[in-house]
Subunit: 330 residues, 2 copies
Amino acid sequence: MGTGQSSSSPVVGVDLGGTKISAAVVSRAGKILGRARKRTKAHLGAAEVLARISLAVRQAAEDAETPMAKVAAVGIGAPGPLDPSSGVLLSAPNLPGWHDVPLAREISEALGIPVYVENDVNLGTLSEHVLGAGRGTKDMVGVFVGTGVGGGLILDGRLRSGARHAAGEIGHMVVAAGGPYCGCGRQGCLEAVASRTAMERDLRAGIAAGRESLLPELAGPRLKRLTSSVLARAWKGGCPLTREVVGRAQWYLGLHAASIVNLLDPEMLVYGGGMTEAMGEEFLAPIREVALQHLMPKDSAPIRLAAAKLGDDAGVLGAALLAQQRSTTE
Amino acid sequence: MGTGQSSSSPVVGVDLGGTKISAAVVSRAGKILGRARKRTKAHLGAAEVLARISLAVRQAAEDAETPMAKVAAVGIGAPGPLDPSSGVLLSAPNLPGWHDVPLAREISEALGIPVYVENDVNLGTLSEHVLGAGRGTKDMVGVFVGTGVGGGLILDGRLRSGARHAAGEIGHMVVAAGGPYCGCGRQGCLEAVASRTAMERDLRAGIAAGRESLLPELAGPRLKRLTSSVLARAWKGGCPLTREVVGRAQWYLGLHAASIVNLLDPEMLVYGGGMTEAMGEEFLAPIREVALQHLMPKDSAPIRLAAAKLGDDAGVLGAALLAQQRSTTE
């Protein structure tokens, strides 16, 4: 540990997304002391994005009135696949041209402090486990429904990385063998039937075929903004097409939840992402109902399905927890 | 530990099935020193079956020329659901009328030594991990395809029981949402599309509809004995219906394997049960091929799918390992 730092020194958590970089200085108790946010500008190339990450960390430290010398470590959540032990980002769907970028080493050299990297959805799961909806559980699975469906696993209190650092790709569990094609090129993945992208595909097809819907009114005639909150408003307004399409996604999510429970038997599943944030318990209740119907054995105790609590902060808080955990154990 | 026993004392493993009880005296090194086998005679009631279990243990000890006083502990693998911590069998599909039977306590009182109970498929997985195909792995999933589809999980070197003692019910992961009905009452479970029972359903329907098949010749006109080995012979003989039906089951098993890997990312999946034993690598190869096509991320290292090695002994060996592990840690 460098000069000026102690075991109570704050850390900085960074959430590296395809459109924005969020950074937050976080106390050991999990309190956010300062923030910064910058556009990613991925089209300018890796070197520019790396510089913007370092800048975001410095600005967050300034916002928290914390000298950089007092920051113990930086954690970065990035879209995978990546290697958490070396801190190398192998590739990233949202960061075109990124291949084998030594993210941890580059930022560590720029800032002069230890940097740790982990999959962003894993970190969202970690923060919900330590600070959010999953507090107090030993085993928890995070399910994030948005453009895709991502997830993370906490087993026996620890984030599971897996033999090839590939655990938690729950959006590519197959629930509808031979079903709709997925962005990954295969058929019937959960993501192909239950992500917002999948719902959007079905909603557009329905509207193109003349089905009754509130969506043209809410999202404009070309349906430009079929965001989670627009879907939530259509659902609340009773749009028959939206009710059908969202309901089907919820059914698949319920079957998927049951599959996870029948395999792993965790204490809790925590749901986050745009759809859960926009619809809340109304998104979760039908998923829970289907899942509980499909648990084995039939007369066993139910398990808990709950909404995530940390919202947008799950990413930076999870990255900060990573920095805390790894800087004290390595 | 009682008189006459030491840390090198052998243990007895018992495999309690619906039709037979197998017992084996097993050395600390995993060598079988003596055996006994008895019919279960479940129709005579729980008290009679309990007496037959104790008798099988005593006969195995006699066969091994090991005095009962030298036996350190007994492990019993039983069909679930059961509570491994209390040793109570909650119910058992193959043992009619068994409800809340304190199996561990009853046998322990009859024999005067510690008795431990665990799910039989979990124990098959444990023995393959310690002594069979999964030796040397840290994480392994066992998949047993027979009348049903059962499984077990080894994570970080330990058998996973789960928050409700229900982990490993992999036959009830949903792979074909809305598909064929399962014995559990729901639709599209792996067991409903890939167990021998599911294959048998489809084969009988095909033959009833006049499809070309070698099965009437191999299994008799009423298809009385559609066992795994009959299916294997029809498959090897090129029976077009059998190739189609077994091939479809293999495809579902491949998708299921990929789902498990995309969630958990273990090092290895080990396949056992009647179909694997009868067809060997010919059963496994298509499953492996489909699974590897569906791994995330696409360019990641492949994982291993291998055939179980211990055959019928997996049950008694797993039960003996349970007795070894729990009698030295409790």
